[in-house]
């Protein structure tokens, strides 16, 4: 079983693993993101503060990893993700400035639901070195 936009299919060419483009998380992006929220947490930008923490230096906000998966799901389920999507993730490792991360979504199952079917997914975000920085599950209704 595989998934295309807002529908399910049994066609073998459809994707069962969806991998997004990789992106580098820079220190500048980390500061800009905290500025958009109006909450400047020095764990994300201050070498002095973050260097003395258990993380040993600045780390990126969780939403950088979350957004890569959110974007993939929004791309593949442009209608239903926004009305029926569910996501549960744990942040497993810090993302350092300069790290390249990639979002990944894998279809793991299909269950009956009121509108038709509900796709079960495994989601993750991985660094270029292979460290899983975020992982969890998602599900969304499809026709």
């Amino acid at each position: 079983m595989a998934v295309t936009a807002d529908t399910t299919t049994n066609e073998s060419e459809a994707e069962t693993v969806i991998e997004g483009t990789s992106r580098e998380i820079t220190q500048d992006l980390m500061v800009e993101y905290t500025d958009t929220l109006g909450f400047r947490n020095p764990i994300h930008y201050s070498g002095d503060f973050a260097g003395k923490s258990e993380y040993g230096g600045p780390i990126a906000s969780g939403p950088f990893a979350l957004a890569l998966v959110d974007d993939l799901l929004l791309r593949h389920f442009p209608r239903s993700w926004l009305t029926s999507g569910a996501l549960s993730v744990a942040y497993l490792a810090p993302v350092r400035p300069g790290a390249t991360i990639t979002g990944r979504v894998e279809v793991t199952g299909l269950a009956k639901s009121a509108p038709g079917s509900r796709v079960q997914l495994a989601v993750s975000c991985v660094t270029g070195e292979g460290t899983v920085v975020m992982a969890g599950t998602a599900s969304v209704d499809v026709l």
Partner: protein, 151 residues
């Protein structure tokens, strides 16, 4: 880029001991074109429904949608006027349930409740549930975030 929100004079840093189960916070924020442009660029959204109004309308939306992860970001208690957070906290876990799209021009109201707080392996955790609703009354997103709180 947006400048950080002005901090009210009565703002207070909320430490772990300041939270009680069931405590409620309400925040309101407007989805401005500037915020939309910032989030698309900074978080690198590429999904057509988020970056292209025509594609969004073809999928049944009013216009390009505000990405859910960004609406969820404003469910954080730090978005509540007067609430300051001690530096150094980070996310541990996050759950989201999407309920409906939101768009530039919307004003969103988020009601956040302290669901739990606990200590585990020497770390302090605060769990908060949030419900965000558009000003037209439709629900947007429910979220639960578990955050490691600085001691």
């Amino acid at each position: 880029m947006n400048t950080p929100t002005a901090i009210p004079a009565e703002s207070k840093v909320h430490h772990y001991d300041d939270f009680t189960i069931g405590q409620e916070f309400v925040a309101e924020f407007e989805l401005t074109p500037e915020r939309y442009r910032d989030v698309i660029r900074i978080l690198a959204y590429t999904a057509p429904v988020a970056v292209d109004s025509e594609a969004a309308r073809a999928s049944g939306h009013e216009q390009a949608v505000m990405p859910p992860a960004y609406a969820a970001a404003y469910q954080f208690v730090a978005a509540v006027p007067g609430v300051l957070l001690p530096p150094g906290g980070v996310y541990a876990k996050q759950e989201l349930r999407m309920q409906g799209p939101c768009y530039v021009g919307d004003t969103l109201t988020t009601r956040t409740t302290v669901h739990a707080k606990y200590e585990k392996r020497g770390r302090l955790y605060v769990v908060m549930d949030s419900q965000t609703t558009r000003n037209v009354g439709s629900p947007v997103i429910w979220g639960r975030r578990t955050r490691i709180w600085p001691s």
